[in-house]
Symmetry: D2
Subunit: 334 residues, 4 copies
């Protein structure tokens, strides 16, 4: 199902080379002020343009189709549409029978019996994350004063990220990266025991982001090598604050009032300007392809804002469930 | 919500020191042969007893309360109950106002306004995983010939696991570990794009397991430091098999026919036999506690079978959705 | 799926002649006082015994398995079990290949490939409603001061219900009835537009009750013959109160602050002590059966308390969603 | 939540006087042939124009935004947009503080704290049903050879429907009606026990349709006055066919292979060209309004195609769950 959330529910639609992509947010409280310009900052951060990002430039203007009236959410479902303009499908026709390694070409073809839209990855395209970023803008508004911040900590195994990207561009190769995320001000007590633990829900959405291959909370994989006496965070106050934060702000699936911390592994961009081995789906014979089109050298550069959006959506949903966000925002009405 | 799954839906109930824990499985196909002894192997693997595991011994006999008639599932909800016998609540009364570091004591108290059952961790106890293991037994039956296997690859950062546990026991400390999991025979095409990607659903359930702090698929966090030319798995056949498996059997959220591989970080057991710093919730003053009771030195030893169960539940759900498992198992009826 | 609700989520398990039936309530707020005796009144109303009801007598004692600690809900899932004692399966063996008209014997056999538990209707038995009534007791506690009351307005087309039942008993036949329900004090603003309208959710649960064949809100089917000028309820105050209540307290799927009113059609008990025509599932030949066992002449007599429970569960769920019920009930804690 | 369905999942968006309304269908099988003209017939039946229907004329052209590629569904979410052109909001400004009796004006205002879009009923408008009709067109394609047909059996209590409408137009009043629906060819065995009974799911969606106030299956409310000996349908064959069909094709919540029959009560159109009593929300004082704008005398005339769509959506969802509809439609691919 292409939706996530129990109360603040996000659905993504569209294809890379179709007329548009979009996002449906059902369950957003009424009365939240929303203007097109509110999306500028986060859409800008997701946007390509910098060294190491794709040359495809879209206007990325959000068209608010429903759920907003006179600058405020109405409580009805919000649908935001992003027109696709800069499509260049020609390159994909040439390779439609030779699935690109590392992409969803083969799996989409298999799952949908060959009816998938293969142009630019179709519905599997990273283009779809624009809708998640837009939902994140709404989520960030309602979780205030909680803040969520994500950033790239290394690319291609290198903390000097610019150098890493430059080297990869030169090598006509791609690189991955690691994104860290911190949510501050998250109240203690959100998340559910067991299946809807805060980690479960965050992981669910984060692992839905294309190219993400792992997540770890607090000390994460390093915790596996630590002693309990060092890993346990001494509790330092009745408000739950701890002297260290190896738990990443979550115990037993429920936030403990400390910052929520996690790290995300992003694989290298699958599209590279080098010959790769694959198979021809029609003939069954081995084939070699060079993926044309426009691609990011380091897709991880554009992932932090998507991670922020994903985490904000989860927090919005859990805070609504926990009644920490009202169903109607105060403010002047009609 | 304490449930997971769209078609094969699992819910967990109970508390560590209540009369029983149990699992409800709704949506299990009809006609699946089920006998109490079928649970022996996996429940035995989850059971304590070995060096480094708790001294609490329960009979762990599964009572099949509903959904099974004359040795076959009926298609109605299956409820399996596990009585709690070996409860020793005294130790918990002494520390009920001083939350144990690394446990859900503080978060449960906060979330539920002090009404949580604090004895033995209550509903947050690892005891609850017995129900998930039982659900996994059912799931494994229906996903055949798909097989899921998990094992501990290191404990306390050490590949000599026995030595690591012995050292930790001696130090009156606890250690974590890393669990690897491989599912073989998974057909290509299961998982949904974006929010219900195979990674999303697996992560959701795996991160619900107490003590799990991270998950990575295929090359995982290492992928972040790899070049695309090395990370991309060359496609070697029309069936989707690849020359390498850095993707861990999943592209674009959908299985590609190769083994599904992931690794799980397990933190050190939170309960240790050393004094720890905390706070008294009534007085607000700093306090020191020594956690009595019976505990695992290395809970990670018991996690593999739980990971297998979690993964099997996800695969059962997705295979039912994809119509790769029938709603009625063939065989002789009444 | 055998569950209902987004926040206050109810699942039913068990079979008529299995060891037990039960109910799982996930999402009940913490701190709600619960004692076994609280269930007496409603379970008593559901219980047989009066003229026109079955002779099967169960103790109907609720065993609270989980989610309650020292007399209060903990916030964890509540599981309540009702042991089955008075089972008499012999009568069902004789007719297992000849499905009883008006029962789920044929449909259960068909759906589950012959693996269904046919004894006493198995999972389709009215016995399952005991769990819904128990969930209703919890729901009624938390929706206070909202009250829900249901009653039988006619049986067998007769407002003299005792006379109607006596005549049916004499005729060795069965009769149906009409149940009215009124919820008072329901705040304006609950229910969601379109798919989760208050009518949709109430209908969903009410139509799940065995033997229910229809529902109508406010003026209901009569409204179809009314003029708009008469059907529209004049609005008489800023609180939404209306001069008449043809709308049954709901406009556009959302409560308007007036009493919520609906009526429910209950069919005659399917089991009758007369010969009936059916088919032998093994031979395919026409057959005649007389249904033995113990049955209600007028099952509708026992339906009002189930309708109350169903409506209370929906109201609890919607009021939690609308943040009109807190997640933690105030009161003294440990 | 403004969505319905577990596998074939439908969400509605938009407002009467916003830029567009639309429908999102997630979970539609891949490979289903879809062309804009396929929607003509059903959209035409929903469209106003005949005597007794509103004068608002929209082009109602479906724009397929996503999920369809070269004339076939791709398996990705389908979004269909209907632009709003013929908006006339002026009439609504005058009455925005005086809620119209029988409409959702008051409840929407109350629920959303005054932030609702009140123009033309906003998100509560019957305009939203166009999306449901479009989803129904897709559903009807995939449930073939199952057919669903609905028709108006009476209007204003009169079987001569034209006469009834003419009289109401003359009286400047409105009338309701009763819609019957029959689904033929529905296989035995669909629907789930208890909460997701076929009646529960059908009722859920049908009662979401604006103006619907009741539903009854088979003999329905009449069954309440029948004897069991007459109401029970004798089983006439191993395929489950019955001599009569008082059950309306459903026993124990599961279809029995006979036609599924139900009837729906539609209230008179709330908008009438007569003065009505209401209250001014700002002043709290009694007020009288005359609702301008363009309205249907008998909205029930346009309801049958919406009922068909609703029922088809439920059947599609249940047949997918029961694996009676494939996830990929056979046919030539790329």
């Amino acid at each position: 199902m292409n939706s996530f959330g129990r109360i603040f529910r996000v659905s993504l639609v569209g294809e890379s080379h179709g007329p548009a992509v979009g996002v449906l947010v059902d369950g957003c409280p009424a009365g939240v002020p929303v203007a097109e310009k509110d999306f500028d900052r986060d859409l800008g951060r997701r946007r390509p343009g910098a060294k190491g990002t794709t040359a495809r430039i879209e206007s990325d203007r959000p068209e608010i189709v429903s759920g907003v009236f006179r600058g405020r959410t109405t409580g009805a479902p919000v649908f935001i549409r992003f027109g696709n303009a800069a499509q260049d499908s020609a390159a994909y026709e040439a390779i439609k029978d030779t699935p690109r390694p590392g992409h969803a070409d083969f799996t989409g073809w298999k799952k949908y019996g060959g009816f998938n839209d293969y142009r630019g990855g179709g519905h599997f395209s990273g283009r779809l994350t624009i809708g998640l970023v837009a939902a994140g803008v709404l989520a960030k508004k309602i979780i205030r004063p909680v803040t969520v911040e994500a950033w790239l900590v290394e690319a291609g195994g290198n903390r000097d990220i610019e150098a890493a990207v430059a080297a990869a561009v030169k090598a006509k190769d791609s690189i991955g990266g690691i994104v860290a995320c911190e949510a501050r001000g998250v109240p203690a007590g959100i998340g559910e025991p067991f299946f809807d633990s805060a980690e479960s829900l965050l992981s669910h959405v984060i692992l839905a982001i294309p190219a993400v291959r792992g997540i770890e909370f607090g000390a994460g994989f390093e915790a596996a090598g630590m002693k309990g006496s060092r890993h346990n965070d001494p509790i330092a106050g009745r408000d739950g604050r701890t002297a260290t934060n190896n738990a990443g702000g979550i115990n037993g699936g429920i936030t403990n009032g400390n910052p929520v911390l996690f790290r995300v592994a992003v694989k290298p961009t699958a599209s590279i300007a080098r010959p790769q081995k694959t198979v021809n789906l029609k003939t069954g014979k081995a084939a070699e392809i060079v993926v044309g089109g426009r691609h990011d050298t380091c897709i991880a550069l554009r992932v932090p804002v998507v991670v922020e959006a994903a985490a904000s959506v989860v927090l919005a949903d859990l805070m609504l469930l926990e009644q920490l966000i009202p169903r109607v925002f105060k403010g002047k009405s009609r």
